[in-house]
């Protein structure tokens, strides 16, 4: 395999990874900025919070992962658990 590995792929270059990440950060900043410029429809009280969806999306995913890791402590077993 190693002799075939001369070709360098897109994410093998650290600067490509860096620029992809920067793209994400900039998009996030722009989306929050837009929240203050564009007037959103408000259907529910908590939608009034500035950048509500951005905060909720971030917090939801962190909470999801933290709880999932705790669940792992309870439910995780060896791969051949059922075969024993």
């Amino acid at each position: 395999m190693p002799e075939k590995e001369q070709k360098e792929y897109f994410f093998d270059k650290p600067e490509n990874v860096k620029w992809t990440m920067r793209g994400l950060y900039i998009t996030c900043i722009l989306l929050v900025a837009a929240d203050f410029i564009i007037h959103r429809h408000i259907g529910l009280p908590w939608e009034k919070i500035p950048a509500f969806y951005a905060i909720y999306g971030f917090v939801a995913c962190v909470v999801l992962v933290v709880i999932a890791k705790e669940i792992r402590k309870i439910v995780m077993r060896k791969e051949n658990y059922y075969d024993e």
Binding site: Y9, M21, A54, G57, V63, V65, R72
Partner: protein
């Protein structure tokens, strides 16, 4: 021609496939969904009601309206795409099963009474298990058996419900049933098993990941969607479905985050998506119902697409364990791009199909004042992006380089995935065509500035959370493991319970024997020492001597009878 139910075409094709081979067989396989769809398009209109009589029962083998037609088109489309995806396979069992399976799904959505529905319900079960068994491994055969037990049990509930319903109402018609009385609940449970309600979902997450690379694509399209159709027809507006749906949308995402087998992640995510549909059906307004069936439509295509990309990985690499994948974009770039399209669609990115269908359910929740449930569903929406939108493509195609350099997926697989991806984008960009197929009249348009902006904020910050968690090393690593779910109850607890139970019973028998027999022995001993024991007849004689003495007595009676009383 309108008299011909579309499922007949599929069943005829199944016989033709049995009799043919090679190219002819492939042509039959590909032509069947096309002919069936054209037949429905040209000859089958709404308002058809065709009946037949069997033993005094009037059964309706074909009843059409916009709801059944929408699902019929969807199933033709799904079977067409899945067939292309499986075209390289040379397994007649799966090819025949595929036709019977899709045909049964069509039969079920056109069934106008509960008995006809039951027949196709069971045919769906029997034909679909072939895709799991065809894998051939011992695990797959066991999982297939458990899958089949659940599916058949669902059929038993349906039949029992149908009979009770007939007894109570005198009708077998399959219209709105509702949760009144025993019949309603029995049928509700039957539909609930097939649509993978919480605690009844074990068959799905247990069975689907064990099916063949192409089989899971078929499986993901039909069974649960037939159940969603049945719920929409029979239980629209039952409020309990809102709570069941929200639970279905929320709990699987936790499992999806920690699951290693990426096809099992997709199985959990399938339940999560069906949760959105079930919620919509529970709300029951025109907007919510349209959202539920529209989401079923887009889900079949994008979930099919995701299962296809993982099927391609399974086909090329031999497994779909996240822990041993990564970097596949280097040698499977086309599959990678197609997977990302599926991921964006399931995550409901604007311009992709999930966005135009899921938002109807979300809006309906908001309009009907389910504000806290709406928050939970927003959590589930962010979670979908997290586990299906990012995790699937990231761990399979990017992440750390596993060193695997499998070849790109075969041409037929790429064509099938390309077709599905094109549809995902087409529905997302031009939703009016899907909306015109929807059964209820609703004026809804998903694209307005607020909606697009809020959805983008939600999704991009979910992505940001993923990046942050990964950089901080907080993201749970992919591990070789199995996570306990409800199947634990019947795969571990019940077998262990039965084992313990048997041991307990044999111990009990032992102790009963010792406690009961010991006194008997002592009684006999006491008796044999007593003074009457010396008489001849009180000794312990074999049973034979007893019989002998009784016969002698009887003969004596007989003789007395003949000679004395004459």
């Amino acid at each position: 021609m309108s008299e011909l139910p579309p499922f007949v075409l599929y069943f005829i094709a199944a016989f033709l496939v049995m009799a043919s081979r090679g190219t002819v067989r492939k042509i039959i396989l590909l032509a069947t969904p096309v002919i069936a769809a054209l037949h429905i398009w040209l000859n089958v209109d709404t308002g058809i009601q065709l009946t037949y009589s069997i033993l005094n029962y009037e059964l309706t083998y074909m009843r059409t309206d916009k709801l059944s037609l929408l699902f019929a088109y969807l199933f033709c489309l799904a079977s067409f795409i899945s067939t292309i995806f499986a075209l390289h396979e040379k397994d007649a069992r799966q090819e025949i099963a595929g036709l019977v399976y899709a045909g049964s799904a069509l039969g079920a959505v056109f069934a106008g009474d509960l008995i006809t529905l039951f027949i196709f319900w069971e045919l769906l079960a029997i034909s679909s298990v072939v895709f799991i068994w065809a894998r051939g491994t011992e695990r797959a055969i066991d999982a297939g058996m458990r899958y089949l037990i659940f599916q058949v049990m669902s059929g038993v509930f349906l039949l029992a419900g149908a009979l009770v319903h007939y007894h109570a109402t005198g009708s077998l018609a399959f219209d709105h049933i509702g949760l009144q009385g025993l019949a309603g609940w029995l049928i509700f449970i039957a539909f609930g098993i097939k649509s993978a309600f919480p605690f009844l979902h074990g068959w799905l997450t247990d069975g689907y990941p064990e099916a063949t690379a192409t089989g899971t694509v078929f499986l993901s399209a039909f069974t649960t969607k037939v159940a969603v159709y049945a719920l929409a027809r029979g239980f629209a507006g039952e409020e309990i479905l809102v709570y069941i749906g929200v639970t279905m949308a929320c709990f699987p995402i936790f499992y999806a985050v920690i699951e290693n087998d990426l096809r099992k992640v997709l199985a959990y995510s399938l339940i999560n998506q069906v949760g959105f549909m079930v919620t919509g059906i529970g709300i029951g307004t025109a907007l919510a119902m349209n959202g539920a069936v529209a989401h079923a439509f887009s889900d079949v295509i994008f979930k099919g697409l995701l299962f296809m990309t993982m099927g391609a990985v399974l086909y090329r690499v031999g497994h779909t364990n996240g822990s041993n994948l990564g970097g596949l974009y280097k040698s499977m770039p086309k599959t990678t791009v197609l997977c990302i399209v599926g991921a964006l669609s399931i995550s409901a990115f604007p311009l992709f199909s999930g966005f135009v269908s899921k938002s109807m359910v979300m809006t309906a929740l908001m309009l009907e004042d389910y504000s806290y449930l709406w928050l939970l569903m927003l959590f589930a929406s962010a979670g979908v992006f997290h586990h299906a939108g990012i995790k699937i493509p990231y761990f399979a195609f990017f992440a750390h380089d596993s060193g695997l350099r499998p070849r790109e997926a075969p041409v037929n697989m790429l064509v099938a995935m390309g077709l599905a991806a094109a549809l995902c984008i087409f529905i997302g960009v031009q939703p009016q065509y899907l909306y015109s197929l929807l059964p209820w009249e609703v004026d809804y348009w998903p694209y307005d500035t607020s909606h697009v902006l809020t959805q983008l904020q939600l999704l991009f910050f979910s992505a940001l959370a993923f990046v942050w968690l990964n950089k901080r090393g907080l993201y749970p690593p992919e591990l070789h493991s199995v996570n306990l779910d409800t199947e634990w109850i019947y795969r571990k607890v019940l077998p262990a319970g039965v084992h313990r139970g048997l041991i307990f019973l044999s111990n009990a028998r032992q102790s009963v024997m010792t406690t009961a027999i010991a006194p008997m022995h002592s009684i006999r001993n006491t008796f044999s020492q007593s003074s009457i024991a010396k008489y001849h007849l009180s000794e312990s004689w074999p049973t034979g001597s007893m019989v002998l003495w009784i016969s002698i007595i009887l003969v004596a009676y007989l003789l007395l009878d003949i000679f004395v009383y004459e």
